[in-house]
Amino acid sequence: MLQFVLRRLIGMVPILFIITIISFLFVHLTPGDPIRIMYGAEIDQETYQTLYEREGFHDPLPVQYGRYMVDMLVHGDFGQSYRTRADVSEEVVRRFGYTAVLTILSMFWAILIGVSVGIISATKRNSIWDRAGMVSTITALSIPEFWFGLMLMQIFAVQLGWFPTSGSGTIWHLLLPSITLGFGVAATIVRFTRSSVLEVMREDYVRTARAKGQKERVVIWSHVLRNALIPVVTMAGLQFGFLIGGAVVVEQVFAWPGLGSYLIDSILSRDYPVIQALILLFSLQFLIINLLVDISYGFLNPQIRYD
């Protein structure tokens, strides 16, 4: 087990290394001149030269990359924002909490609704509930999150005035964004849970349990679910990554001050140090999530032994 985690951690190193190179090259390969972005397009040639040297752009790329890595790894320094001159790491740390709270709450809704509706759909297969569930999930999967957010905002914040329209602060601010973010994942989980449960219900060992005289309720809740939920947990874990992606959009709709809106603002203003840092951070997040998913899979499924 420990060996497995270790191996996976070691395996992450080359991927992260490649990602640092990609994010580093970002600044140098993308169109646009960093100096002019930082100091404005109007500066004269002389100032430009001085600044160019001061920022270290005259060094060969490997040297610059080395400096970048040392700053990052040794000093935990991700540079300064071109736009606001603020320290990137501080800003990232501040915003990280917002995004984390939002995605975790969304995941909570998604799992709560997804698993329960999925189980009902599967056990009452072809009933009116099942059909309604399937129609609504496929609809949910067809709705763009940002539009759903705008509609929720219109109805519940603007028209009914039950919630604040945007911003952050209280739990009420969190409700609409988290529902917006979670509904798509909920639909995915519903469909996945349903097919997983249906598949397990066809297994021979379920017939064995029935042949023992076990109650249908116990057959479902103990024999079927335990097996059916193993892949669901895995899938839900992987969906976490997609929630973070969705958060970029939803944060923009509700003006939620998380990492997603930070990323978009930075891209729109070509704030490269921030983009660099965020690419790294997001990559790391996904790698860690994938690792956690794999580990949890092993806890649930006795058949997996890490060797």
């Binding site: 060996q3 270790l6 191996r7 060797d307």
Partner: protein, 324 residues
């Protein structure tokens, strides 16, 4: 003595499995671990054994569908294991396979004509008319109605599909057919039809069969020679009648005694083995059968027995029959 049609010498097929933290330790599944046998022209050799003993892998290794780790496979004297890719394709004409599952071995998206035309196309029969003629003729031979030529494989029952599979194998006029459990998936009454067909075809075309099966009764019925495999190794080879009437290897004896006899008046004493077949990843050092053998002695644990001649056309790999 004439040259055998197929001569397999010390065939080894090992599948690597990677393990360990930085993937450096490689273990091998020793699916086939040094077996030898020959098939003569017009003759049938039955390769029997339980699941996982490597009999199917042997068949696939001979046609090089899986890479051969070591050993020789000579077809009319040419070593198949050392052929280049294009030479191999040419060679394959002489050696055709019939597979176990008549459902999986025919592409459901193709018609009978497509399926039977494929080998002809692959070996340069360009004229459509000629192909059609040969296909129709072959359908007659295996007892399929010519009218069904443009039907899809899945419209046929299991027995009929196996006839299509046999037709595909025969259409290039090979001398050797490797039949991998061709009747295992069929019901008894259909199985008899196919076995009879195989016999008829052998007589008609002078075919040699390498007949892979787990069913000893079928092997007894069809084969001139029998080779008994256990855990990737050969336990006993020889004339079928000799082996069935006088099995020498304890494993062969057990296997034969384990077969239920379809006559309640003829029930016999049974040798019941303990335990299961060990893993081919880590087979015993000495005799492969040592862990379950009721007659095992010290030597069996340490020395690997080689095939020794026990009479004309009868060989066994067992220390019980060592001369010293």
């Amino acid at each position: 003595m004439t040259q055998p049609l197929l001569d397999v010498k010390n065939l080894k097929i090992h599948f690597p499995q990677r393990k360990g933290v930085i993937k450096k330790r490689t273990t091998y599944v020793k699916a086939v671990d040094g077996i030898s046998f020959t098939v003569n022209e017009g003759e049938t050799l039955g390769l029997v054994g339980e699941s996982g003993c490597g009999k199917s892998t042997t068949g696939r290794g001979i046609t090089r569908l899986v890479p051969v780790t070591d050993g020789e496979v000579r077809y009319e004297g040419t070593d198949i294991a050392s052929l280049s890719k294009s030479e191999l394709r040419e060679q394959r004409k002489n050696m055709q396979m019939v597979f176990q599952d008549p459902y999986a071995s025919l592409n459901p998206r193709l018609t009978v004509e497509d399926i039977l035309a494929e080998p002809l196309k692959a070996h340069g029969v360009k004229s459509r008319k000629e192909r059609r003629e040969r296909i129709e003729k072959m359908m007659d031979v295996v007892g399929l109605n010519r009218k069904f030529i443009s039907r899809y494989a899945h419209e046929f029952s299991g027995g009929q599909r196996q006839r299509i599979g046999i037709a595909r194998a025969l259409i290039l006029n090979p001398k050797l057919i490797i039949a991998d459990e061709p009747v295992a998936a069929l019901d008894v009454s259909i199985q008899a039809q196919i076995l009879n067909l195989l016999k008829d075809l052998q007589e008609e075309f002078g075919l040699a069969y390498l007949f892979i099966s787990h069913d000893l009764s079928v092997v007894r019925h069809l084969c001139d020679q029998t080779a008994v495999m256990y855990l990737g190794r050969m336990a006993e080879v020889g004339n079928t009648d000799k082996i069935f009437e006088n099995p020498l290897h304890p494993y062969t004896q057990t296997l034969l005694s384990a077969i239920p006899i379809s006559n309640p008046r003829q029930q016999k004493e049974r040798i019941i083995l303990q335990g299961d077949v060990p893993s081919p990843v880590d087979p015993p050092k000495g005799c492969a059968f040592v862990g379950r053998c009721p007659k095992a002695h010290d030597r069996c644990h340490s020395d690997r027995p080689e095939l020794q001649k026990m009479g004309e056309d009868h060989y066994v790999a067992c220390h019980l029959y060592d001369q010293n």
